[in-house]
């Protein structure tokens, strides 16, 4: 088991190197001069632009820039933004906000998805089941920005139940409205996954055996049925969480949340390589680690799964 974990962790290294190189190269290859773009319509003459470029090593060949950046990473120096801030400070500031948002959204969506999904499976093909399936279809069909603007306008402006934007109250409470918006988009697939997985488990032999042994429903359902049917959900959780970390850009823009998605989007517009590469690399690595943790969680949930080195 230990060897397995070690091997997986070592695999992170080539992924990390490959990702940073590829993304750095892509930013480098984007047409246009980011330094000139900073000045907009009032272009200073070349002497000044050259000086600023030299500061950011933008006049060096690609491989020099890349190695310098890589060297910085090992000292935990992720570079500087064009505005002079350390990228690592920007990351430290924006990451927790998006993390909170993702956790809240996933928690809300999953709790609801598991409850409704399981209930739908137990009451398969009843009016309850059909209604829930149609509702989930509606949730999936509405684009996220429609939900977002709607929520912002009606709940924020008209009813005044919550603030239309997040801004400085980006703690757990302030992020509830955007989290609900995000939850809409992940609820549907998770709920259907739970439902089908539970239906499958309910048909298994060992469930019949458990009932046959005389165990009450309140023991069979949580211990024997749910524990098994939730395994695919764990995979789903990992995927959704990883996607949310970076994909909450639209929601962050609508609700004005100072998180990762917003910052990354602005950095891409500006061709700000240190920010783009650092953020994306951190998330690639995070994604890989989350998946590792989920794989290990499998072993806990299902004793049939063993990792052989």
């Amino acid at each position: 088991m230990l060897f397995y974990i070690l091997k997986r962790i070592l695999q992170v290294i080539p992924v990390f190197l490959g990702a940073t190189l590829l993304i750095y190269f892509m930013v480098f290859a984007m047409p246009g001069d980011p330094i000139a773009a900073l000045f907009g319509d009032k272009q200073p003459p070349d002497a000044l632009l050259d000086q600023i470029r030299a500061e950011y090593l933008l006049d060096q060949p690609f491989i020099v820039q890349y190695l310098h950046y890589l060297g910085g990473i090992f000292r935990l120096d992720f570079g500087t933004t064009f505005g002079g801030q350390d990228v690592i400070d920007v990351l430290a500031r924006t990451f927790p906000v998006t993390l909170r948002l993702a956790v809240e959204a996933v928690a809300m969506a999953f709790v609801l998805a598991i409850v409704i999904g399981a209930l739908s499976a137990f009451f398969k093909n009843t009016w309850f089941d059909h209604t829930m399936l149609v509702v989930s279809l509606i949730f999936v069909a509405i684009p996220i920005f429609v939900v977002g603007f709607f929520a912002q306008y009606f709940i924020g402006v008209k009813l005044g139940w919550a603030s239309p934007t997040v801004g400085e109250n980006n703690g757990w409470l302030g992020l509830i409205l955007p989290a609900i918006t995000l939850a809409f988009s992940i609820y549907a697939t998770s709920m259907r996954l739970t439902r089908s997985s539970t239906i499958e488990t309910l048909g298994q032999d060992w469930v019949r055996t458990a009932y046959g042994k005389g165990l009450p429903r309140r023991r069979v359902i949580p211990v024997h049925v749910l524990r098994n049917s939730l395994i695919p959900m764990i995979t789903d959780l990992g995927t959704q969480f990883g996607v949310l970390m970076v994909g909450a850009t639209v929601t962050e823009a609508i609700f004005n949340i100072p998180g990762v998605g917003n910052t990354l989007y602005l950095a891409i517009i500006k061709h700000e390589a240190p920010t783009i590469v650092s953020f994306v690399t951190v998330f690639v690595v995070l994604y890989v680690i989350i998946n590792l943790l989920i794989d290990l969680l499998y072993g806990l949930l299902d004793p049939r799964i063993r990792y052989v080195s």
Partner: protein, 547 residues
């Protein structure tokens, strides 16, 4: 279930790569009129991420309909790539251009854009007659005579049309029920010091995260500029109509078109107690001007004696500008290397603000917690919460014409105006200086008289490089430019697309400037006249056919 990490990482990277590659291809938006269009397409370029596609398509349709040629919008994926081609004279047609005034003077709109070799002369225009009139205007001490000379220069431009003026951009803003006395200045920015909040507390206004440390010499964008203008006070300040009044200065005397003597009022201080004197200005200006400091506002000092403007060096030598001479603690003299009779008018711009001596110990740290002499000051250390907001309180020590009426001012950073507008409607935000496009139809109902729609010192034009085939500085080029200008239905576009938040242009500057006039000779070329346009285009085709 064992998953292959390489697959995941590979898919993730491939996904990003495909999105990046897709984004790199310029969007192709063909907008040719339907019936008798023939010949090669005229292209109009801009950056796709600026939200300009709507009006560019409308303008394309208008030209296409009047002239009977296909007109296409040729969008670049982002501003950096657009800028690249623009600076390399590689844009194959017309492109979006415009100007936002640094100070409310005609020269800023004319001299910096259309004189031969000027920094922002993107079309490559050069006219001796124009240069001469502008040079005469900038040496003329009498502002009315100067304005007349500048307007005569504009009449030259109306014949040559180096760019085709489209419209002036209005300041369109609104405020909440919590505040009163909101007025917008010449630069479309609210006059924050005048706003009152009867319920007490800080006035909240929209802002964006400053992209640089908040320093007079390093701030070149709106986010930082907004804060800078409220925590510092310059030699002069601008009234709502663009006229100047003395703030820190006691008097500014233009001894000659190339020499200015500035006297500073006695007894003024920064919020840390340091006095505001001649050194505060001379040291600050030198810091901004010295080439080795590589500050972003170096450009604003280029007219001062001692400034070196060559291919190798752009800025003052390390000793500073020789044209800045201290006479005594409260007086200094500025010698210019070219005439600038409107120099006093420029001094309200943020690049000319003074700095306390403590700034020079560590400029970067100072930029994080700047200490100024303006109507507001930072609310203690850490008042700048990055990406969230920056909190200011009233500066009780301020002594000048712009005393703050409210207890404080908080700039909340928004990445988009829609979110800010919703906050405004919920009275969660007090002042919004730019309403989003989607509010244009409804804001008058929703805000009533808590909104404003007035001309700003900002215009939009279509530039066509002199290097583009068929548009050179000859008879054919001029005919074609005039034809295009008369083929654009500015009234319809400003009405339908902008809901009246733009005003059709009648010259190359802006109604917000002192000296503006709408009675220039030759301005019929900026009016919609499709028959005349077609006629001129055909005349050009006789000289050289459009193919």
């Amino acid at each position: 279930m064992k998953r292959n990490t390489y697959t995941f990482a590979g898919v993730a990277v491939l996904g990003i790569a495909s999105i990046a590659l897709a984004g790199c291809a310029p969007a192709d938006d063909s907008d040719a009129g339907q019936e008798q269009v023939s010949g090669p397409a005229l292209k109009i370029s801009s950056n796709a991420d600026g939200g300009h596609e709507g009006w560019i398509n409308a303008v394309s349709n208008s030209i296409s309909g009047a002239l009977g040629i296909p007109v296409e919008a040729d969008m670049y994926p982002d501003f950096a790539s657009f800028l690249d081609d623009r600076d390399n004279e590689a844009i194959p047609g017309a492109f979006r251009a415009g100007w936002q005034g640094d100070y409310p003077g005609l020269y800023n709109f004319l001299g910096t854009l259309y004189t031969t070799g000027a920094e922002s002369n993107d079309s490559g225009y050069s006219s001796e007659e124009f240069d001469a009139l502008v040079a005469e205007g900038i040496s003329e001490a009498d502002p009315d005579k100067a304005a007349e000379l500048f307007n005569q220069a504009q009449e030259v431009l109306l014949q040559d049309l180096p760019v085709i003026p489209l419209w002036y951009q209005n300041a369109v803003g609104g405020w909440s029920e919590n505040v009163d006395n909101v007025e917008f200045g010449w630069d479309s920015v609210p006059l924050f010091d005048e706003i009152t909040k009867p319920g007490g507390g800080a006035v909240t206004a929209n802002g964006t995260e400053p992209q640089n440390p908040i320093l007079p010499s390093r701030t070149d964008e709106v986010g930082g500029g907004r804060v800078l203008d409220t925590i510092f006070a310059g030699l002069v300040s601008y009234n709502a109509d663009g006229s100047i009044e003395n703030d820190v200065a006691e008097s500014i005397t233009q001894d000659s078109p190339t020499q200015v003597t500035i006297k500073i009022r006695d007894g003024l201080t920064f919020t840390n107690g340091e006095p505001v004197n001649a050194d505060s200005f001379i040291d600050a200006w030198n810091y901004g001007a010295i080439a080795s400091n590589a500050q972003k506002s170096t450009y604003f000092f280029q007219d001062i004696e001692g400034f070196v403007n060559t291919a190798d060096q752009y800025g003052a030598p390390d000793e500073g500008l020789s044209g800045l001479k201290k006479i005594d603690d409260h007086t200094f003299q500025v010698t210019l290397n070219k005439p600038a009779s409107d120099f006093a008018q420029r001094l309200g711009y943020s690049a000319y603000y003074p700095l306390p001596q403590v700034a020079f110990d560590d400029m970067d740290a100072f930029g994080e917690n700047p200490i100024g002499n303006g109507p507001f000051k930072l609310d203690g250390e850490g008042a700048w919460e990055h990406d969230v907001q920056i909190s200011l309180v009233k500066n009780e020590d301020y002594d000048g014409p712009s005393e703050a009426q409210a207890d404080g001012l908080v700039f909340k950073f928004y990445s988009g105006f829609e979110a800010a507008y919703n906050d405004l409607l919920a009275n969660n935000l007090d002042v919004l200086d730019t309403l989003p496009d989607l509010a244009y139809e409804t804001y008058q109902d929703e805000l009533g008289d808590r909104s404003v729609n007035q001309p700003g010192a900002l215009n939009q034009t279509l530039a066509i490089g002199e290097y583009v085939e068929h548009f050179g500085p000859d008879e054919e080029g001029t005919l074609r430019r005039q034809a295009i200008s008369m083929a654009i239905d500015r009234e319809a576009i400003t009405d339908k697309i902008f809901s009246g938040t733009r005003q059709p242009a009648t010259d190359f500057t802006s109604p917000a400037l002192d000296g503006w006039t709408d009675e220039l000779e030759g301005d019929e070329v900026l009016e919609y006249n499709p028959e005349k346009a077609k006629e001129l285009w055909e005349q050009a085709n006789e000289i050289s056919p459009w193919e």
